[in-house]
Symmetry: C2
Subunit: 256 residues, 2 copies
């Protein structure tokens, strides 16, 4: 092989010509959509997936349940906006967050054209005890169990009385997309660990998988597979509770 020739220094990101153009650039020359973020925060509790919603106290959809979210600041990153709105409206902070999908049908918001970048978050149940409270723009926050309905639809569990909570905008569709994404990624990523505290037992891990996948897994095979993946490290103690104590593990990812 011939040795590679020396590479020239990279050109500047903006040229002098560009800078001149930019001075005369008018951002108002096009009609622009508004951009929001919405966040689906999920946890696993007692064999169910749950999502946190806030009750709207401003139009549109006053009184309906919505995902925490809101407008993106002009100098704010998308993930930054998602983190900020989540903290403002629900008090939840310092959690794992990942972009889900961007929903932009022209009719999805009755006010005007609004494109929303949806995120999903997974959080251990314990982290939330006493932490969730209604903040700015939210009249109330609550957890809703996710259930699988007929026709493969995924939605909120019906209340006593049989009616399902009404969701604002296309947020029901966003939640459904998020649940499908999590189910898909569960098997080839390590997102399950985001739903568990720092230390956990293999049975607790298996319960997370069983809840999200909606089926029982064989215990022996599950343990073999998880342990051979080499992403867990034995922790010091055990979890005790009336029976044989269970070894605690910690997620360490590849290596270490």
């Amino acid at each position: 092989m011939a040795p590679p020739p020396p590479s020239p220094p990279p050109p500047p990101r903006t040229s002098a010509h560009d800078r001149e153009f930019l001075r005369g650039y008018d951002v108002t020359q096009f009609d622009r959509p508004s951009v929001t973020v919405d966040v689906c925060v999920f946890t696993v509790a007692d064999g169910d997936i749950e999502v946190v919603l806030v009750r709207r106290r401003e139009p549109p959809f006053v009184g309906a349940w919505a995902l925490p979210g809101g407008f993106v600041g002009i100098d704010e990153s998308l993930e930054g906006a998602a983190t900020r709105k989540l903290a403002e409206e629900t008090g939840i902070r310092d959690i794992w967050l990942e972009q889900l999908y961007t929903f932009g049908e022209p009719s999805r918001d009755p006010r005007t054209r609004v494109i929303t970048v949806a995120y999903y978050a997974l959080v251990p149940r314990e982290r939330l005890e006493g932490q969730v409270r209604a903040g700015a723009g939210a009249a109330e926050t609550a957890w809703f169990r996710i259930v699988d309905g007929r026709g493969g639809r995924i939605g909120l569990e019906a209340r006593e009385g049989g009616e399902r909570p009404e969701m604002a905008f296309d947020h029901a569709s966003i939640v459904e997309t998020a649940v499908r994404r999590i189910r898909g990624k569960l098997e080839y990523t390590t997102i399950a660990f985001e739903l568990l505290p720092r230390e956990f037992t293999l049975t607790e891990l298996q319960q997370v998988y069983e809840t999200i996948l909606r089926r029982r897994l064989a215990k022996a095979a599950f343990r073999r597979k998880v342990l051979s993946a080499g992403v867990l490290k034995e922790a010091k103690g055990t979890r005790r509770g009336g029976h044989r104590p269970a070894q605690l593990y910690r997620f360490v990812g590849r290596g270490r």
Copy 2:
């Protein structure tokens, strides 16, 4: 189980209160980012992945290579905008398209705050012969081979002389994200078939997999797996060429 009570009719999507509010709603009360779409069109040719780029003839980044894309119309869906801009700038139309990710770092465009919703598309090589041409806003279009560089980076193949084509904005990062996504989804979806014509041989299918995954696959195992998946139907003819002719297949998905 108790029989479910009759469910009340769903409430209207917007209430009278909402409508009154909307009459007075001022969309200009917030600073709004601009929103664009960008499209990564990939094909597989001669053992390489290739992406189509257009040379910019307007600032910023005049002369640099960019993904086909542009501003989203105020009443236009995101996918509609992606389809439209792709046709306008490259002449490519009627192809499979899927949303990739939304890039929104505040500094990613020197003009103003621009959030871009990126899409990726897969198209059979044959479909493009003579179809790709530079259109509105593009000085030139060209195909670039994708190569894996040191440190796990994915980028454009260097030209003769050793320099790599300069890409506008954060488009190099978008292309890299798209290639990773395709590599990941190849194994658990049927996107590979989007890269092949209506009828193809199993060897051609295997070559698509080998190109994208960058490794040789065992022929017997590959055939067993693909055929047992039940998504192919034998087509009428064979592909002839100096050797034993190969059976043609057609992708039919589940069932039929």
